[in-house]
């Protein structure tokens, strides 16, 4: 890359791969993945909570690993596989959340479910304490935590 010939590029063209579909988008260079998902791709299942990486409401999977989409640029994800809540239809975690009433207002739920799906793949649902520790990046201001833990425990094969 020759720096002398680099034109200033405050806009970027990105091929976003989301839920196994490719979306070519033209964006301001500092558009977050969260804003691109919601405002450009109209995938509004991913929620904006704090928008500063503190609450976990915007959790998605990038190449199978959970991240917060509010502190990720869409441009950084060119070439990555993104999975959002819309890509998890009929997932057992979602069904367990419904069975266990693991939500009240529901605003954090998409992030909770995405994080729980990743947590199960990471093999970190061995006990209630482990679930609580490794779900701590997802806040629930309605405090549905006991039911969230119960839902995850059930999918993990516990009671």
């Amino acid at each position: 890359m020759s720096s002398a010939t680099t034109a200033r590029s405050t806009e970027v063209t990105v091929q976003l791969r989301v839920n196994e579909r490719t979306y070519p988008v033209r964006l301001d260079s500092t558009t977050t993945l969260l804003d691109a998902l919601r405002d450009q791709l109209h995938l509004a299942g991913t929620k904006k909570g704090c928008d500063q990486g503190a609450c976990g409401a915007c959790t998605v999977l990038r190449d199978g690993k959970r991240i917060v989409s509010c502190l990720t640029l869409a441009a950084q994800c060119d070439g990555s596989e993104i999975t959002t809540i819309e890509g998890l239809a009929d997932d057992p975690v979602q069904e367990a959340f419904v069975r266990h009433d693991a939500l009240q207002c529901g605003y954090c739920t998409a992030g909770q479910v995405m994080s729980a799906v990743a947590l199960l793949r990471e093999g970190r649902a061995g006990s209630d304490d482990e679930i609580r520790e490794f779900m701590s990046g997802n806040l629930c201001r309605c405090a549905a935590y006991p039911n969230i833990v119960a839902a995850i425990r059930e999918v993990a094969g516990g009671s």
Binding site: T30, L73, D78, S136
Partner: protein, 327 residues
């Protein structure tokens, strides 16, 4: 529209060139601190992000009794490394005590070293008095509400804390940072990498503009050494430390033969407690020695009303981690 340019670097040398050529350009790796400060808090103003996220600087290699950690290795990846788990429990525990899994999947080890302080006055552009942001403007934290602030390496110009967990064992273990720029490669001990604020709180490390952290080198602990990390905080997970301590100790026949101690939650830089180590080595491995080490570690703290509690809390944190790794 932020007007910030985005460029993805093709290789490390072009990454260095793309940052070096522009005074306000910044490397972008995990983004967890950088994007927060630039896009949300708007207290740093880069003209260009040079995305280094896809550079081949990932993974951990072991040569004999040394680990070489490439700078883009994430906190989760490093915590999952088999050698780290088996030979450096204090590093693994500190990594997993930091942030959340989501952030640990994003945050790189190089970025962790360079994370900026969580001081709320630094992170609030409406606050004018911040010597770290605007040299000579004063320090709102010293006069204001302080709690998550430093008591060691601090002074009236700045009490901003370095809030990293992993850096605490890394300074204790004599980690070395490998830096690269157009002039070549240099290796700096992590204990010499950070600058305490003095009268220039805006200068935080010896890193030059455009210089890229490429690796962190880490010696393994000698056989028979036990180690651990203790983090004391306001809630039991996903919270910064009030105080923390990383200790590695070997006891031979009831006497401390080897001791390393790093402190978190108390320093303007990740704190190496050399004085405490000198008290420990050669002394009987007991409660009295650990308390003496703690007293030596927290000598001459700089406190404000909101941080006075940290003096005793840090001492008790030290005693407890020493007791834990020796019993």
């Amino acid at each position: 529209m932020t007007g910030i340019e985005y460029v993805r670097a093709a290789d490390p040398s072009s990454a260095v060139a793309l940052v070096s050529e522009e005074p306000d350009a910044a490397f972008l790796a995990g983004g967890t601190t950088e994007l927060d400060l630039a896009l949300k808090d708007r207290v740093v103003h880069p003209s260009r992000f040079v995305d280094i996220g896809r550079l081949p600087l990932r993974g951990v290699t072991r040569t004999g009794d040394h680990l070489r950690i490439a700078a883009l290795t994430t906190m989760e990846e490093l915590a999952a490394d088999a050698t780290v788990g088996a030979r450096l429990p204090l590093v693994r525990e500190a990594l997993l005590a930091g942030a959340s899994t989501q952030l640990r999947n994003m945050a790189t080890i190089g970025g962790n070293l360079l994370q900026r302080t969580r001081c709320r006055y630094f992170r609030d552009p409406a606050v004018a008095a911040c010597n770290k942001r605007t040299p000579g403007s004063g320090c709102a934290a010293v006069e204001g509400v302080a709690r998550m602030h430093a008591i060691l390496g601090a002074g009236p110009s700045c009490i901003a804390l370095h809030a990293s967990d992993p850096c605490v064992p890394l300074v204790a273990l004599d980690a070395v940072v490998v830096l690269r720029d157009a002039d070549g490669i240099r290796r700096v001990p992590l204990t010499a990498f950070y600058l305490t604020p003095g009268d220039r709180p805006d200068r935080e490390t010896v890193l030059r503009h455009g210089e890229l952290v490429t690796h962190v080198e880490l010696p393994l602990l000698p056989a028979g050494t036990r180690s651990g990390y203790l983090k004391v905080r306001d809630r039991s997970s996903y919270e910064f430390a009030l105080t923390s301590a990383a200790a590695a100790v070997r006891v031979d026949d009831g006497t401390v033969a080897f001791a390393r101690l790093g402190l978190g939650g108390v320093g303007t830089v990740p704190w190496r407690a050399y004085e405490a180590e000198r008290v420990l080595v050669g002394a009987p491995a007991n409660e009295r020695t650990y308390r003496a080490a703690a007293e030596a570690a927290i000598r001459d703290p700089f406190t404000v009303p909101g941080t006075e509690f940290k003096v005793e809390l840090a001492k008790r944190t030290i005693v407890r981690i020493l007791r834990t790794v020796t019993t």
